[in-house]
């Protein structure tokens, strides 16, 4: 098993498995701290009252009984909450232990297979199979963000992992919670959950804002995005939505309470962004105001226009007369000289950035930004691991000889829609071949995954592998039709063939299993590839 990496490497690929639970544990622990703190405060308040009563001599037996019952009640409630939290804690710790055990198992498997001559041992293959199905389950789960619907009913990833008993290896509860918030933002345009979540995570989000500016990322638009905080973006969206609904007063309150404190140039984080080493992409002369302030300024203009319906502003919406007037405004060549039309067009232009602010795209951006933050906090991989791994694998396997699809599509149509028809067609075709007693089907010859119907088209989007050495079987022999086979394999395949009509001939005949052509044995030529 000399090709297999060591256990350390496999472990390193599973960052999320060991990071997410500890983040969850930390959060849960913080909640426990708070719970104890609150309980402590509550009990001391009761103690003070008790002391006062005692001091004033009002602590009658009756009141004593009453009070102790209250205390018991308080403590019981606390105790129940604590027990639930501790159970949660133990669940996460147990997950870590199970995952660690899996890597200990792998270590044993690799140790056992160290001197094995086969490429992979049975146990290692089984381990890899689980690993791969875990990747698939994780992909299916993360992909739910593109699905607008009930994820508790439609969750193929979780179904798969439960079926395979691999569900302890993934923190599905954490991932799914993120997705459900994402869905609320993107599909229901509901900010309330996000606002709650931001409030719960205020501290971390603030620290992310400063730390993320140092993230070295070649993508400038992304960097720009990270310079703001999710907290700000959330209330910013809230602010815009309120304006949209004409709730100007509420909008101003949001601005004052949540946006301005973060947006002003006096906020310390400005100095931080100014020291960003890779500031080349920004104009260097202007002082580095926090981009959030600019953003807020930009949107403040919205306040002036109660509505962004410019036609309404010009009294153009509604009646037919007006719509024809509108056409002439935008179309006629004379419009340049028409002051009315001029200002119409100008305001329309000026409003463009505002319209972008109100655009539905904003919701998708906000949702994406949320899930980025969420994944970051919980140490969940930002990419879809399965896709990265598949891309790496496809490239590593793809050779210039991979053109299997040509063999499949004897019917020359490609369905624009992704269906299973060609899969079915392929299956039936190879069944036909075996019924017709032809000795070889395409699949017997070509087991290459890149040539498979499943991956061939996908592989066209990715580069080829790099080959420097010829890799050809021993004893290659050429048939007169140009096909080169491995001698032993060709003979073995010929053994199984029925060749009744030529048996009485003197010389041995060889059949090309691919074309069914017959050749004399003496026509076989040994080939020297190097």
């Amino acid at each position: 098993m000399s090709y297999v990496s060591d256990v350390e490497f496999y472990l390193k690929l599973q960052k999320t498995q060991f990071k997410t639970p500890i983040e969850a544990v930390k959060r849960n622990f913080k909640a426990i701290q708070k719970l104890i703190e609150k309980q402590s405060a509550l009990l001391s308040r009761h103690l003070i009252q008790l002391k006062e009563l005692e001091l004033n001599g009002q602590l009658s037996k009756e009141i004593q009984r009453e009070r102790i019952a209250v205390l018991i009640n308080i403590q019981t409630r606390f105790h129940d909450k604590l027990v639930t939290r501790v159970e949660e804690h133990n669940d996460y710790v147990q997950r870590l232990e199970i995952r660690l055990q899996r890597f200990k198992d792998l270590e044993k498997i690799l140790e056992k297979g160290k001197n094995s001559s086969s490429d992979f041992g049975d146990d290692f293959l089984a381990w890899t199979r689980d690993q791969i199905n875990l990747l698939i389950g994780c992909y299916l789960m993360k992909n739910l963000i593109n699905f607008n619907g009930d994820i508790s009913q439609n969750n193929p990833g979780l179904e798969l992992l439960k079926h395979l008993k691999l569900d302890k290896l993934i923190d599905h509860d954490v991932i799914l919670k993120g997705i459900s918030i994402y869905q609320k933002i993107r599909y229901e345009k509901d900010l309330s959950v996000l606002i709650d979540w931001c409030n719960e995570n205020k501290k971390i989000l603030k620290s992310m804002k400063t730390s993320s500016t140092s993230v070295d990322d070649s993508n400038t638009t992304q960097k720009d995005q990270y310079r703001t905080s999710l907290d700000f973006e959330t209330f910013y969206q809230n602010f815009i939505e309120l304006i949209k609904e004409d709730k100007i007063y509420e909008a101003l309150i949001i601005a004052k309470e949540h946006l301005m404190p973060q947006a002003g140039p006096e906020v310390p984080s400005t100095s931080n962004s100014a020291t960003t080493s890779s500031a080349t992409s920004y104009s260097d002369k202007t002082p580095k105001y926090d981009s959030t302030f600019e953003k807020f300024k930009k949107s403040a203009g919205l306040l002036v226009f109660g509505s962004l319906d410019i036609d309404e502003l010009f009294g153009l919406s509604g009646s037919k007369v007006n719509s024809s007037r509108k056409d002439s405004l935008t179309n006629s060549a004379m419009s340049v000289y028409d002051t009315f039309s001029n200002s119409y067009n100008q305001i329309n232009n000026n409003l463009k950035p505002f319209k972008e602010l109100l655009n539905d795209e904003k919701w998708i951006q906000l949702a994406d930004f949320f899930i980025y933050n969420y994944n970051h906090i919980y140490g969940i991989d930002q990419s879809l691991e399965l896709i990265v791994m598949l891309s790496v694998g496809i490239t590593s396997l793809k050779t210039h000889s991979c053109n299997g699809f040509k063999n499949y599509s004897k019917h020359d149509f490609q369905d624009p829609q992704v269906t299973f028809q060609d899969v079915l067609h392929n299956i039936e075709e190879s069944n036909d071949i075996s019924n017709a007693k032809s000795e070889l089907s395409i699949n017997d010859l070509n087991k290459c995954p890149i040539c498979s119907l499943e991956l061939y088209e996908i592989a066209q989007h990715l580069p080829y592998s790099h080959q420097t050495k010829s890799n050809i079987y021993e004893n290659p022999v050429k048939l007169p039709n140009g096909h080169i086979y491995q001698l032993e394999k060709l003979l073995k395949m010929n053994e199984a063939f029925e060749k009744p009509e030529i048996e009485n001939l003197d010389e041995m005949y060889i059949k090309d299993p691919l074309t069914n052509e017959m050749f004399k044995r003496s026509e076989l030529q040994k080939i020297f590839p190097t």
Binding site: S5, F18, I22, I32, Q33, I36, L43, L59, Q64, R67, I68, F78, N90, E97, F103, K104, L125, A126, R129, Q131, Y139, P156, G157, E159, H163, S383, I387, V388, M389, L390, S391, V392, G393, T395, S396, L397, H400, S401, V418, F420, V423, L424, N431, S434, P449, I450, L455, P463, Y464, S465, H466, Q467, T468, S470, I472, Y473, G482, I527, F528, T530
Partner: protein, 384 residues
């Protein structure tokens, strides 16, 4: 791994929260005991006493909190050092999921993979969510496999699998699969372990089913039969690991059966997704290394050809699916357009190299031996 192990174990051993529960419980018991005394009028409530108890509880709780807090902080710190690379940075080429077609193709490949492993439920859910129809014809083909899967992997029942193997006996023999024997072997072990007091039921089973495999699996059969001298769990049994059922034999058997099943249906025996990811796990250290070097040099290492990896990935034989021919003259991999050509002396060079040789001379001299050839002695060839 040692670091991770240490941290996980430290966290597992820390029982601070259990202690918190105990403290809370102690306080509660104390209060209840007081209540009892009050109800029976045996004692008075002294605020001072209650206060001491509550303060004790609060102090202890804080102390436990602190011990756990330290453990969590340490874990986080160490773990960040261990996991020092980011998978998403490793390879800049990616299947373009932005394209709906690509996304659906990936999903289709996954559905096929799920059908192979007998998971209809998940496969159907994906299809439903993607609005692609999995034709009944296809589902029917896999239906038998799904039933066998359920029986074998969930209930550990072998009957359906054995029946299937019986029906497909000749096909299995043709491809040289020992599935049938493995099924009988597992059934034998199962019977043997379920009857620890008497080896006869297992013996009876062996007598009926093993003779057919006498010429191929005699060695294993001998071991199994000599095991019956011992009771199932006797440590003296020298062949204890040949009757070991701990390393999920049912799952492994199902995998073998599924491979055979798929090749009879007309698919590749192994799921393309599986093979590809297998290759990926072998290749990815190369990608990480390349990425690291490229980062150290603080510039993107050049890809000499945009459409080809700049480094080689060595894969084991079982993951090499094509014969690769590198033209000995041009050192380039041959392609369907630039195919290998066989000269009359049976040496091979690529079509492009041949064209260059042609330019200079009317007849072609083999670059590897002294012979020369006319154009009609040269043939295009294909490795099968």
């Amino acid at each position: 791994m040692n670091i991770v192990q240490e941290e996980v174990e430290r966290l597992g051993k820390n029982k601070a929260l259990e202690k918190c529960i105990k403290e809370s419980n102690d306080l509660l018991s104390y209060l209840k005991q007081k209540q009892e005394q009050l109800n029976q009028d045996t004692d008075d409530l002294k605020v001072q006493d209650v206060q001491i108890k509550i303060n004790y509880w609060a102090n202890q709780s804080l102390k436990h909190e602190k011990s756990l807090n330290t453990v969590i902080k340490k874990y986080q710190k160490s773990i960040d050092k261990v996991f020092n690379f980011d998978l998403s940075e490793v390879y800049r080429h990616r299947i373009p999921l932005e394209s709906t077609r690509c996304r659906q193709l990936v999903d289709r490949a996954l559905i096929m993979h799920l059908l192979r492993i007998g998971d209809f439920e998940a496969a159907n859910t994906i299809a439903k969510m993607d609005n692609i129809q999995v034709p009944d014809q296809l589902l029917n083909k896999f239906h038998e496999l799904e039933e066998i899967s359920e029986d074998l992997t969930v209930h550990h029942r072998l009957e359906k699998a054995i029946a299937w193997a019986n029906v497909n006996k000749h096909n299995l023999q043709r491809i040289g699969s020992d599935l049938q024997f493995n099924l009988h072997k597992l059934k034998f072990i199962d019977i043997y372990k379920k009857n620890p007091s008497s080896p006869y039921p297992a013996y009876e089973y062996a007598k009926i089913n093993f003779p057919h495999f006498g010429n191929t699996h005699l060695d294993v059969i001998s071991k199994l039969m000599s095991s019956t001298i011992f009771t199932p769990n006797e440590p003296e049994n020298p062949y204890l690991d040949s009757i070991d059922l701990t390393s999920s034999p049912y799952q492994k058997l199902f995998t073998q059966l599924s491979r055979d099943f798929c090749s009879f249906v007309g698919l590749s025996s192994e799921s393309p997704i599986f093979n590809t990811l297998q290759a990926s796990y072998i290749a990815i250290p190369n990608f990480v290394k390349f990425n690291k070097i490229s980062k150290m040099k603080n510039e993107k290492l050049d890809w000499t050809s945009e459409n080809e990896l700049p480094f080689e990935v060595e894969l084991p034989k079982s993951l090499q699916f094509h014969s690769i021919f590198i033209c000995p003259v041009s050192k380039e991999e041959t392609t369907p357009q630039n195919s290998p050509m066989a000269l009359g002396c049976r040496h091979l060079i690529s079509k492009d190299s041949l064209a260059k040789l042609k330019k200079r001379n009317s007849s072609i001299k083999c670059p590897y031996c002294p012979k020369t050839f006319a154009a009609n002695e040269i043939q295009e060839v294909q490795f099968i």
